[in-house]
Amino acid sequence: MSNIQTVNRKQNKKLKVEVGKSRLRSYKWLLLRRVTQLSILSVFLLGPLFGIWIIKGNMSSSVLFNTIHLTDPFVFLQTLAAGMMAENTLTIGAVTVAVLYFLLGGRVYCSWVCPINIVTDLADWLRRKLNIKSRLTLSRNNRNLILMAVLLAALFTGTLAWELINPVTLIQRELVFGMGLAWVFVLGIFILDLLISRRAWCGHLCPMGKFYSLLGEYSFIRVNAVQREHCNDCMDCYAVCPEPQVIKPALKGDAFSSPVILSGDCTNCGQCIDICAQDVFSLGPRFITKKSETSQSGVSS
């Protein structure tokens, strides 16, 4: 099996060159994501650094052009659990953001917005390059439990208990409001992901990721494997995917199953699209099942 894979991987490298999948194209989604992440962060920084206030606040809650309120729905949910009847501005902001991610894919937040993704992606890339093997395998269930615990703690203490230690909002806040000791958490997450367990933070522990995964369970934009019969089992997509368990049902399902990656855990990061030499994957609307089936049969016949 592994022999076939290595052979296929070598073939794929050749194939990429033959097909002319340019370097730029094989980094298309990665570049787009980095540009998006850094632009969002820059827009937040334009105010404090240059006095250009396009957006004010931080990723927990902010106001765009001094009119449109945006609030992280996960933080909002915690205020609800803590027993706070929030002001309308907060509620409207949270609903706005929730609707956005409901349509785009919840974990688009993780891979296209959250700056910590840059750190964990780097850790994962280094892990592959340096061939660091996992010492510890965490259960992906941990994040479900942590999410529940976060809400329970808010319910029982009547405060946003998780926000006292949430490294995600902490890092985001200190990036915008001036860096204190948040870099300790950045380093911690980097080391955790690099040396201790693959994709430990974003894929196994972070309750925010899980919340957004639940939010985007039925999202409209999804990655699909419409060209799945071209798959040559190189396993490249599994190697790069931060949530590899989501690929199999779409890629290896039977002829009647949907080629769309339906799991909310998928972050729509597009790394599978970038890596695949066979162009199996693409990003598109959720409801393409029937259409793709016919196009697939058209190709095969």
Binding site: T79, T159, V184
Partner: protein
């Protein structure tokens, strides 16, 4: 059949094991988080929350989403967001009166900016804000209590002449001077901290404390006699005896009022006096009569 039975039993055991492990983990983690929030979530007495924040720290922390919009809209850079390892709950706004006090903006931009209601949107008049209460903590070092003229806190107070008044008393040390000492009135003090900021001592003698720490509270059953009497219009216990005074004619005494009153002598009756108007004439008269 038996092996199948065994298998389901094993599955059931594994299921129970997983469930109990998850439940245990969940309970431990949420409990740990709860306990941590107890210690990390308390608010230190030397820091002040922005105007409109609930005096109940728990209530404030249930509402504040740590967005920093109040900090951004504070025109005087008074407000700060707590960073990691600060002694204030992570990401929540606060200020230190001694470094930058609250300037008490009339339009209260920080409250306007708050999206969550953690800073009470019903606060429209900054004079109604109760961020804390200024307390003259140390009379031993406050130079006004040493008999020196200072009054800086009185002069910088934005609720001038109301929140801090000057109290005059006798200077026992010199025996002939006055002590002019500041006195804070909780009815008017907003807790802005300008007095603490301006205090001329190396370490301020007047400090803004959280209301919960600064204010005493009379037992709910306790009644102050004179207030009850004032409200009822008469004594509720035993009726006061009528005061009677044996005073010379034209002199009266108003108890609990103007005090001793000497009525001016009626000019028309002045002539009726048997004595001469001028004292000198009276003396010159000698013992003629």
């Amino acid at each position: 059949m038996e092996s199948a039975d065994n298998k389901t039993r094993q599955q059931r055991r594994r299921f129970m094991e997983n469930i109990s492990r998850a439940a245990g983990g969940l309970a431990l983690f949420s409990m740990g988080l709860g306990i941590y929030s107890r210690s990390a979530g308390s608010f230190p007495a030397d820091k002040i929350r922005p105007p409109g924040a609930s005096a109940n720290e728990n209530e404030f922390q249930s509402a504040c989403v740590r967005c920093g919009l109040c900090v951004r809209d504070c025109p005087y850079d008074t407000l700060k967001l707590a960073r990691y390892m600060d002694d204030v709950a992570l990401g929540t706004p606060y200020f230190e009166a001694r470094s930058i006090p609250c300037e008490m903006c009339e339009d209260i931009p920080c409250v306007k900016a708050c999206p969550s209601g953690a800073l009470d949107p019903l606060l429209k008049n900054i004079d109604d804000a109760r961020m804390g209460l200024a307390v003259l903590l140390d009379q031993e070092t406050c130079i006004a209590f040493q008999g020196l003229r200072c009054e800086v806190c009185f002069n910088v107070c934005p609720v001038q002449g109301k929140a801090i008044t000057l109290n005059r008393s006798h200077n026992l040390r010199t025996g002939k001077h006055a002590l002019i000492t500041p006195l804070v009135h909780s009815e008017y003090c907003t807790g802005c901290g300008k007095c603490e900021h301006a205090c001329i001592l190396d370490e301020a003698a007047i400090k803004v404390l959280p209301l919960t720490l600064a204010k005493g509270e009379l037992g709910k059953h306790y009644r102050l006699g004179w207030q009850e009497k004032h409200n009822a219009g008469k004594s509720l216990v035993t009726p006061d005896p009528e005061h009677q005074y044996n005073l010379p004619e034209g002199v009266s005494y108003d108890y609990e009022g103007a005090g001793l009153e000497i009525k001016p002598v009626d000019k028309t009756k002045e002539d009726e006096t048997p004595f001469n108007k001028s004292a000198l004439d009276r003396l010159n008269q000698g013992l003629k009569k």
